[in-house]
């Protein structure tokens, strides 16, 4: 039997790949509690990777899509609406499926796009890995959900603020940056917190059926399922992964709460919006 320190050394970085720990995952009767604790905990780094990058990139894309959706030009608002409808209306699970099947069909060598003076080769090989392809799907998904939240917030911006901005002679980008955007963020932030939490939770779906875990390097829930398959005992691995996710959720709530405080710092205390953990949907 391994000691706890040995399993930490062997398995904590193992989710990065074979080079970072034992070649093989623990099997059968060889599995100790510490193995489960550290391998699942190590797998959490991929959950954090997916969540941070998807939320970080999706945030900016969502701002853009939300602005497109509220614009008066139908050439902008219609595609944005269709995008949001598609990604909010279909299960994330199916989206992973769909995109993985699509990525597999792309030629491995890359796609050549002739631009006249030169030929651009788009690398497509990485798209069939979860770390790139799965992240891509997650980004699109969170963009759609957050864009819908931002649209609601954009429509709820107090008219007086916008008129005041006009009166001050602000227009165009200056008005957006100084008045519209901070107001939108302030109004959308409590629900955006829930969106971030839910996105973090749905990173568990990445390896579920579509994207393969190369070299058995997967996220926390992938390892939890692996242990349950091996030990046929769901009462250790699943509660462990649940505990990790509760901890992660608390971290997100605290972090986003700090941002929320900053966004609302100009308001009197009773008008500030509190963050409430109210996830309204699963994917």
């Amino acid at each position: 039997m391994r000691t706890c320190a040995e399993s930490f050394e062997a398995y904590f970085l193992r989710p990065l790949g074979r080079a970072y720990g034992e070649n093989l995952l623990p099997r059968g009767l060889d599995i100790t509690f510490c193995d489960q604790l550290f391998l699942i905990g190590g797998g959490l780094m991929w959950n954090i990777y997916f969540a941070v990058l998807a939320v970080g990139i999706g945030f900016f894309l969502a701002t853009g899509v939300a602005l497109m959706k509220v614009s008066e030009n139908p050439w902008l608002s219609r595609p944005a609406g269709a995008f949001i409808f598609f990604f909010r209306g279909s299960p994330l699970f199916i989206q992973f499926f769909f995109f993985y099947s699509m990525f597999v069909l792309l030629p491995r060598a890359g796609i050549d796009i002739p631009l006249g003076f030169t030929t651009l080769t788009v690398e497509t090989r990485a798209l069939t890995t979860a770390q790139v392809g799965g992240l891509f799907v997650l980004i699109l998904n969170t963009t759609a959900y957050s864009a819908e939240l931002f649209v609601g917030a954009l429509r709820a911006i107090p008219k007086g603020d916008l008129e005041a901005a006009d009166a001050y002679g602000l227009s165009g980008f200056a008005k957006f940056r100084r008045v519209t955007w901070p107001n939108m963020l302030r109004l959308a932030w409590p629900s955006y917190t829930n969106e971030a939490i839910f996105l973090t939770h749905s990173t568990t779906l990445v390896f579920l059926s579509a994207f393969p875990a190369r070299q058995q390097s997967g996220e926390a829930f992938y390892y939890a399922r692996y242990f349950v398959d091996q030990t046929f005992n769901p009462f250790i691995a699943y509660p462990l992964v649940a505990a990790y996710f509760i901890a992660l959720t608390l971290v997100i709530i605290v972090g986003f709460g700090l941002v929320n405080r900053r966004l609302n710092r100009h308001l009197p205390r009773e008008r500030r919006q509190r963050i409430r953990f109210r996830p309204q949907y699963i994917r």
């Binding site: 009767l29 099947s101 579920l208 829930f221 399922r225 046929f232 996710f245």
Partner: protein, 238 residues
């Protein structure tokens, strides 16, 4: 299915398609839609019942019950739901077998968990040894229903709890002034009126439930996703 399908190679296009779309796999695919609808029809009332119980627990002034309700709702919302979808069927299955084992085989002297095996006596197996494939499917399906009802019950509980609090408090006070007990006031005033507040949330949850049905596939049930994969899965790779 059609008689002209005996030799598809000589058929014109539309007949060939008719044959293709009525092949055995396709028929199973169409049937699987009913499986999903059956799940929805079963889970919706179950989840509503769980939700009502949960909301009552949340409202309860008796501390342990209140704590139970809050624990239930917050635990399910704080953890990815997929964990529950995989955890509940296997945990419940082992739990049922363990209970049956204790009842049927009291003189069994070996431990139930030996290493990585979960061993119960022959009489305690669920579904019973020798059960038909159909019975096994029904068993797996009902496990899935329980998992869905548990997860969605937590969502419903939260919605109903909010709806109950949205009923104007003055009305409850009036009911009590008329001499109704707390239970009577709840039954006659709060319960009939809360639905109007709960309905938007419930319709939301209903949509979520529809969107969550592909997860049935993960529980080993041959649902729409399973057959779609059978039909559309890549047979070749570049």
């Amino acid at each position: 299915m059609f008689e002209f399908c005996a030799d598809p190679s000589i058929l014109p296009d539309w007949q060939w398609f008719a044959c293709y779309l009525t092949s055995g796999t396709h028929l199973a695919f169409y049937r699987s839609f009913f499986v999903v609808m059956l799940l929805l029809a079963i889970v919706a009332p179950l989840a509503l019942g769980m939700g009502l119980l949960g909301a009552l627990a949340l409202r309860s002034s008796f501390a342990p019950v209140n704590l139970l309700g809050r624990g239930y709702v917050n635990l399910i919302r704080g953890v990815p739901d997929i964990v529950f979808f995989l955890f509940v069927p296997i945990a419940l299955g082992q739990g049922i077998e363990w209970v049956l084992h204790q009842i049927n085989c009291p003189d069994w002297d070996q431990p139930v968990r030996q290493g990585n095996d979960f061993i119960v006596c022959r009489e305690a197996k669920m579904p019973p040894v020798g059960a038909s494939a159909w019975a096994r499917n029904v068993y797996a399906f009902s496990m899935a229903c329980v998992a869905f009802a548990l997860v969605f019950g937590a969502f419903v509980a939260n919605t109903l709890y909010g709806a109950m609090r949205a009923v104007p408090h003055a009305q409850v006070e009036t009911a009590e002034a008329y001499g109704m007990t707390r239970a009577q006031a709840f039954r006659r005033v709060v319960l009939p009126q809360m639905w109007i507040f709960a309905l938007p949330g419930l319709s939301n949850i209903w949509q979520i439930l529809i969107k969550a049905t592909p997860l049935l596939f993960l529980l080993g049930i041959q649902d729409v996703v399973f057959w779609a994969r059978e039909l559309g899965g890549a047979k070749t790779s570049l």
